[in-house]
Symmetry: C5
Subunit: 359 residues, 5 copies
């Protein structure tokens, strides 16, 4: 259903905080807080890694030895209290926390000296198969990362790599962890775009057969998905560029090489999105031309038939008149002559059509 | 009524001051000065806040202890004398005062060393439900803010926060007050854009049913509102960027963080506006395609019917001719043969239509 | 007459100087030198101001006390000799003088150290009501301004302000005088654009009634006027920005504040021009959609009527055939049956139309 | 012939040198070397100027006193040997010589320290009246200029100015000579663009009368010429800007003022080209709208006639049926009643048409 | 087949590495490793050059005297082990190796201090005549170049020049070799674009004859090829600009001059591609206009015929009615009068058509 489809885009600007509320107000607003929030603390260093589910945020920042990296992972809808405690525990700015609550932020990176605040968007297909995006908020400190994600399991690959894979991620610091999360989120765009490519391909094939109403609807849906993607990916490019550019002390030189790779992927995504948008427009134009071409073909047929038979019918009707004195009717040559005249008229028109290239 | 709708845009350039008037002339021009101007002085520091309505601007600048912040709030149409006195009291530049009078300025920030002159536009729906914008002019000095607003109560939330809420706003200086006013004005754009989103959604749903003249009118109105919004928001972005960038002594470092948030909101507004403009164009294109598709469907029907019945009618007319000697007429096989011929012709055409995919 | 209308744009590139002429050649080329050139010298300081009409340019630079500002005002078509003498008297570069003669320059500012050469364009409506622009060339020296303007009285407000108003203009130097002239010229754009706004409004209202050929012509004329305006205003912005930016010694700091105001007006003009261009395009698109919508309505009517009556006429013609043996004709149920069949066919088609939403 | 017309654009990228050839290979490739190359040496200083035709390039660089400026002018197709000798004589880089051979370069300026390599394109109308461009390559050294031009006499005005006019050009150095050549080439664009303006004007006038197939062809040709011009002028702007910007020692300060003038002309050319492109697009859109408007007018006529006569014809056919028992036929009121019915139907439809605004 | 045609573009974003894989994972993914990889080592200095085919990458880096330049050339699909060994032998970064495997990278240059990583794309026509691009990856070190190319013989000209031509390439270092490879790859674009130009020309000629469905398909294919080319060439420009700009120690000053030439070629390619895109759009627009013009011509014919014969047929049918009392039928002037009436009606309509310019 196309209106549903477009909700992702149309609702992209809703703000939870009301008009005139004090800046930095952390207020979920009218949205129901139904789903539970699950908090996990994963701590690791090169030697070992452990994961524990914690209940209250109060425990979050306890017992943090400096030689370990901590990843506080909040999944689901975080309630206001938890956020407040989170802010207190790590000294986070209220404006950043407000942005965590208003989950329709553009991608961005803000440098609060002691920590970075990163917002990135994860593409997901909702239950109805519609494309939408979820917000992933990251606070990256010297030896901790706090991730807040309204959805659930998109970051699991990162967790598994820490706990089981023991690769580079265990040797490096919080900035590499943050990069890994960014990279995982960006990787999720590739299958989404591949899917859109497949949809374009299948529209293209269907359209060879003829143009149906549903194809046009599908083209519009693809266009609207591409619009959503572009709107999401564009600020992402800026955000990662900011991470690369800034003289932020929290990002180490070695991690920058990896972020450059992330940046490349984003550029590639933008590239494909733009290309698809153009292909989509071309598809639409091509088939609009098709409609008008077929229309003109239909009209040619109509014109040929009508132009041929109208004069003939007139002649026939003419001699169908019931006047008493119509000398041709009683003449014995009348009938053959009329047939001859009709044949000549028809031939003349057929010749005319052929010279015009209509038949 | 669409022409009314577009007035906001069409009248965006009117200047009160006549051609050839000396620069800095403060002259309301032909507009009637009907509504009264209401002047309020709110002064506060961290301990207390008080508000008083004052009659003449002469009192404006009296008794101003340095440890308090003053907000002089002018609502309604300010007359020339008041403005002149205001300029004298605070040492404001005539060109800035001219811009206060010509209430169709673009958003801008001008730094006159001792004070900042800020123009920002507030979106309002007038009595007829049409979107328009009102100008809010701010002079921000070291310990005072002068706000001039032709409308009335949009800044009330700020006033209430000062008098009753006692938050951060009471602790900080005039630059934070200015920020709060900016933020309040910008917050007013969100419901306006949400409303436009709803209108787009409802057009979309209506269009599923078929294309009526009124829908096209509504699409055009939405487009024209979006044009107005874009025209308003775009310079706003530049203005706030100027506040962030400039080495203006009047903006403190702590306030800049908040202004950065304001800037983000503006970017977000621009984003949604652009997205809506594209959606609007897509809607229009989609339904133009719809018209031409339906047209071609209608024409197909016409062609099928005409092409089928014209030859048949001709045959019927042919044997309706009144020639004396038409051997077929008296033949006993004549009638069945003609019926057979007609059936064959009809079948041939139906086959032709089916092969062309018209039926 | 639309072709006349567009002459302003189409002739915008004509050069008086021939191909291959030495650069700096001051040659009016084939244009007739009919109108007389009127030269006025206005000199003033804070105490008094006097104006005298002078005959020969030789007198231009005589007796110039340093404490006065001189405005040499040339109106009408300046002949080659006068220009040459002017160049000699003030030491002007031949390339600048060539640009004075070729009156189709873009707005620009050139800094020749001892003087500034400014070209600006004045919008005027010619006798036939067509929009065109005239060139105003300014040489701004330390204590003189030379203005050359092919038209006549557009700069009169400046003259009157000097002679009678005695305001700021008498206190300040030649750069403020130059600014005043710029400002006066730019002020002339506002009524022109307001007029275009009115034309757009009236087209809009007329179009509600239906689309006539003349409306489309008028839309095109407005578009072409807007194109001319944009082409004129765009370089104007750059030119004034150059005045603001350059470290030109001839522009004093106090005047820069005023020029910044000029710059704002230019931006505002560009804004409105762009907005009108979009509105104009929207109007055109809207009414193109209208044409094709109305066309499809017309076609629906045709199709409904034709589809309804063609089968009925066929049936009638069928029983108008003159075969001897047509059993139906002599049957007493023949006539009522045929009427019934016709009614059924008509009803079936009407039902089909209703289900398709055509009636 | 339009395909011929577009050859200039379509062949703009042909390279003489084959794929995989070593860079700097000077190879004319498959083009026939038919036309002879004419080499002239013009040397001058402030006192005198002389011109001599020389046969072999070997003589080119002989006897060159330092106080004279030398202009080596090569016209026609230069063969590979000559170029090689030229390169040896002046120490030119092979890559520059390769660019001389591949005569489809964009305008550009390359600074090889001891000399500048400038490529500029000259607009010419070929025998068939089609617009195309020829390449003029310049090497500008301290006291020499080498110009290579495949065509013949476009640079004659420069030669004549040196030999006979004795103006500024004789007093200044090689950089001013180079400027003069550039200026002469750029001057050639003005009549070309004026011609296009005239073509646009005449299309416009013809179109008032009605839209013929040939007009559309002519519009397309103008568009394609404008595309070629834009493609040529755009890099020219960059090239001249590079000459102005670079800290190249070969361009003296006094010449820069003249180059700035050249730059202005280029900007003006770009301006007019862009304006014409928009006018051209407007013309096309306007007349597309015209076609669809006229189409809809034609269809209205068809619909009115068909809708009027189809029901009437049906009624007539109805009473043309030959049923034995049709009581109306024998009734003496039958005929007048039918006429009345027909008149009513016709009136009803006419009323319907008038209310719809179709007649 | 157009869907096949577009595969190049549609598949441009496929990534071999799965979502969530650790960054730097070198994994071919599901693609089959069928074709063999051929490794050649060409080493040369100014005196001699030798080529040897080597089996295992282990040998790659053995025995490398410093005074020779080595070119390790890998053709065909490189398997994971080989790449890993390659990385170990030359100390290449895993992220760069990952990009070698994911053969849908944009052109880019990455500077890893000790070596440059360059990705460039080679245009090829696949078996079905469709345009696609292959990735060429280069690692450029101080005295070695590693090239990895999935296809086979496009770099043969470089090899031959080294082994047999003994030109500049043998005297210079690895950076010139890298440049030669780049130049060879870029040279491959020119015939591809020339081919597209020919296709455009032939479409243009065919279209003169009339518009067939296949032409529109061909136009779309050309558009899609141009889209692919633009998408490929655009980042190439950036990449070469980066080589020119960067203070990379590996590129010598003398090579920069050659790279500047490369850059010029890329700009020229972009230019032609853009021009062709516009021509392509113009072609499409032109022929869409053609369709609608021809449609309107067809409709005119239909209208003229129908409008002419419908009234006449009505009159004939009218007098074909079988009413007993139709006085005109028995009048002896009836028949001639009707003929006269018919002739008048026909003449009136013909006059009307001529005045409307329809015939």
């Amino acid at each position: 259903m196309p209106p549903a489809q477009k909700k992702g885009v149309l609702h992209g600007f809703r703000r939870a905080t009301g008009v005139g509320a004090a800046p930095g107000t952390i207020d979920r607003g009218p949205e129901p807080i139904s789903s539970q929030c699950r908090i996990t603390r994963i701590s690791f260093n090169i030697e070992n890694a452990e994961e524990e589910v914690i209940d209250t945020v109060g425990e979050l920042n306890e017992d943090v030895p400096a030689d370990r990296v901590y990843w506080f992972r909040l999944e689901g809808t975080v309630n206001t209290d938890t956020l407040q405690q989170l802010g207190d525990a790590f000294g986070l700015h209220p404006l950043a926390l407000e942005d965590v609550v208003n989950t329709h932020q553009r991608c961005k990176v803000e440098d609060y000296d002691e920590y970075l605040f990163i917002v990135i968007r994860l593409p997901v297909c909702d239950a109805g198969g519609n494309l939408t995006t979820e917000q992933v908020s990251l606070f990256v400190g010297d030896n901790f990362v706090v991730s807040i994600h309204e959805g659930s399991n998109a970051l699991d690959p990162v967790r598994e790599r820490i706990l089981w894979a023991r690769g580079r991620i265990r040797e490096l610091k919080s900035d590499y962890l943050a990069y890994t999360i960014l990279d995982t989120v960006i990787d999720n765009y590739f299958p989404v775009i591949e899917e859109i490519g497949n949809r374009l391909n299948s529209i293209d094939e269907l359209l060879e057969g003829g143009f149906a109403q549903s194809h046009r609807l599908e083209i519009r849906n693809v266009r609207s998905d591409l619009l959503l993607l572009r709107k999401t990916i564009w600020p992402q490019r800026e955000a990662i560029a900011a991470l690369l550019r800034d003289d932020c002390k929290l990002i180490h030189e070695s991690t920058r090489t990896y972020l450059r790779d992330c940046y490349d992927h984003t550029i590639q995504l933008m590239d494909v999105t733009e290309t698809y948008r153009e292909l989509c427009a071309d598809l639409r134009d091509f088939h609009l031309a098709d409609i008008s071409y077929r229309s003109s073909e239909v009209m040619k047929t109509l014109t040929v038939i009508a132009t041929l038979f109208m004069p003939l019918s007139f002649i026939a009707s003419f001699y169908g008149m019931n006047f008493k004195r119509m000398p041709e009717l009683s003449s014995s040559f009348g009938y053959p002559t009329v047939i001859l005249v009709m044949a000549s008229v028809a031939s003349a028109f057929l010749l005319f059509f052929r010279r015009r290239g209509w038949i």
